[in-house]
């Protein structure tokens, strides 16, 4: 479904990614791991059109997407969350999700302006779907709360719900469990599994080895912008280069 081939990207003298390749098969849960500054978020950014790779290609469902505008890539069916939450802080949880439905709604300016019956029906459906998503992430009762007033864990889950609102085919999660306690992390893993069961393809970045081991079917390990390992979790965990990269920080359990 997603094919990243030989992608490189640098910022001035710093090489954030060098010749990195990665595939994500439709219907799978895949993970990208690596120490701080390894280039994981940069990889996500390139996939969603924030900057273009200096070399290499990115394909989604066979279509070249590298260097295309972000909104266009989002319309193709890639949604994401951000490492440092990017909700609309002054909007309510419900409004955040409704905004996520943007690409699925058909109404044009004129219809919005005069509120045609079709537009009203669509708005009704959008709200119903938004409430379903709120329910899915356990925020049903917080529908009218401003995003900024939610707890950190709730904000993380709201951002996932907002990403899902566009009915993407591929969901990118950048450190979704960051800052969560073990109980919340388990809840999150369960949520990701639930989402996966609906047929969603998921690619996630994570630091917590335990979290990815239990969840992902396939792992890619980055270190200093290089791909140092790639494969099923078991094999990756035993890879000496991975152990070396994680030495001193977080040993794979």
């Amino acid at each position: 479904m997603l094919q990243v081939e030989g992608v490189s990207r640098s910022f001035g003298k710093l090489v954030a990614l060098h010749d990195v390749s990665l595939r994500v098969d439709a219907g799978s849960i895949a993970g990208v791991i690596g120490p701080n500054g390894a280039g994981k978020s940069t990889l996500f950014n390139l996939i969603t059109g924030l900057g273009r790779p200096e070399s290499g290609t990115i394909r989604f469902s066979g279509k070249r997407i590298d260097g295309r505008p972000t909104y266009w890539i989002a319309c193709l069916g890639i949604a994401r969350t951000f490492q440092n939450l990017r909700l609309f802080p002054h909007a309510t949880a419900l409004e955040n999700i409704l905004t996520g439905e943007h690409v699925r709604l058909r109404s044009n300016l004129l219809e919005d302006l005069v509120r045609t019956p079709g537009q009203r029906r669509e708005e009704e459906q959008a709200r119903a779907r938004a409430f379903e998503l709120l329910h899915l992430v356990g925020l049903r009762r917080a529908a009218n709360v401003r995003a900024a007033a939610l707890s950190y864990g709730d904000q993380r889950r709201l951002e996932i719900a907002r990403a899902l609102a566009s009915r993407p085919r591929l969901l990118l999660l950048d450190e979704p469990a960051a800052g969560m306690n073990p109980v919340e992390k388990d809840g999150l893993a369960e949520l990701v599994r639930t989402i996966h069961r609906t047929g969603m393809t998921v690619l996630l970045i994570e630091h917590d080895m335990r979290f990815v081991m239990g969840l992902c079917e396939h792992l890619t390990v980055l270190d200093y912008g290089e791909r140092i390992a790639d494969g099923v979790p078991q094999a990756v965990r035993e890879n000496p280069r991975v152990i070396e990269a994680y030495l001193g920080s977080e040993l794979p359990a």
Partner: protein, 357 residues
């Protein structure tokens, strides 16, 4: 009488949105609309009063338009008067002896809106990807260029003197003439349309897209929102409002000249928004009415009083000070404007409940 009209509007706008029973709220608004539209028919209010109110109404229209750009989409437009000028000159050139063209007012309302909107798109397409403060300065530059061009193209626009003796609009064969009443009613009707437009747009797909751009443009793009296009839409719609306002303004004054569309006009409208609360429709209406009242009634009145009391003050030039003071004071001490939206309050209220759950 003017205080009855403006005062009741301000009160109703301010408290109308606090009323949470929809039927009651609609009833209150309809009552106000009736008072405003039927009152003058019954002879409530002199010609001078209606004249001031019609002028105020044009500014309400402008403020509602600018609110779409600044309040909804979060784009600071400092050259808004340029679109106002384009609307006004559209009427002046196409309904006057200038070229011997005499198109009807009602048609020109649409032409003015379309032309101003088109200029909005022409200016916006290359500039809307600029950062907020740069965009503000570009629009300011555009706002300086437009009246200057109108002033310089003497052959078409009458130069610094502008174009005079514009046609009076007419309805069913009856000319509006110089009485204020018909202009007042037209303005009122247009404000009605503008209010519904603004409200409908805000709570729909496009309104949410604007909110997203205002709050976090990068996140908005990741949701598939074509930010450039949405900003252009805001720009064009806002400009179209100003175009309509310009047509009415020119028709009512029966005259246009470049000095009516200076930077100060853009800032006056911006001050109205800031005063009432950017993005808040009722607040914007209140802000424009209050400032019009200050400009047209309170300042001249206090001047008369000051002179009667032999005080050595002349307040007729205090406009600048008041606009500037409003901008600074509100930004520093109450950035949400005088009228915090009831919606926001409700949200805050509910968040307290939810935290308790």
């Amino acid at each position: 009488m003017i205080f009855v009209y403006i005062g009741s509007t301000i009160l109703v706008a301010a408290f109308g949105q606090r009323i949470h029973v929809p039927v009651a709220r609609i009833a209150v608004y309809v009552g106000l609309a009736l008072l405003l539209s039927v009152g003058p028919v019954l002879g409530l209010g002199s010609d001078a009063t209606l004249n001031t109110l019609a002028d105020a109404g044009i500014f309400v229209l402008l403020a509602l338009g600018l609110n779409i750009v600044v309040g909804f989409a979060g784009l600071l437009d400092l050259g808004y008067a340029a679109f106002f000028a384009i609307g006004a000159y559209t009427y002046a050139m196409l309904a006057s002896p200038q070229f011997g063209v005499h198109l009807p007012f009602w048609v020109l309302l649409f032409v003015g809106a379309a032309l101003a909107g088109a200029f909005g798109i022409i200016l916006g397409s290359p500039t809307l990807r600029l950062r907020g403060d740069y965009l503000a300065i570009v629009t300011l530059g555009f706002g300086e260029i437009v009246p200057q061009v109108f002033q310089n193209l003497t052959r078409f626009t009458g130069g610094p003197n502008g174009i005079a003796a514009l046609d009076f609009p007419s309805l069913f064969g009856r000319s509006f003439g110089t009485a204020a009443f018909p202009y007042y009613e037209v303005t009122l009707g247009l404000i009605g349309v503008a209010l519904v437009t603004a409200r409908n747009l805000r709570s729909s797909r496009i309104g949410r897209a604007w909110m997203a751009i205002r709050e976090d443009e990068l996140a908005a793009r990741h949701l598939g929102i074509n930010t450039t296009r949405m900003k252009l839409a805001a720009f064009a719609i806002g400009a179209a409002f100003a175009g309509v306002g310009g047509v009415v303004y020119a028709a009512k004054l029966s005259l246009v000249s470049p000095d009516l569309f200076q930077f100060q006009v853009s800032i006056l409208v911006l001050s109205m928004l800031v005063l009432g609360g950017m993005g808040n429709i009722a607040g914007v209406v209140i802000g424009s009415l209050v400032l019009t009242l200050v400009n047209q009634v309170i300042l001249p009145q206090s001047n008369v009083l000051a002179q009667a009391a032999h005080l050595p003050v002349n307040l007729s030039n205090a406009h600048f000070f008041i606009y500037g003071g409003i901008l600074v004071a509100i930004m520093l001490f109450r950035p949400e404007g005088l009228l915090p939206s009831a919606q926001r309050q409700a949200e805050l209220h509910e968040s307290v409940q939810a935290d308790g759950v």
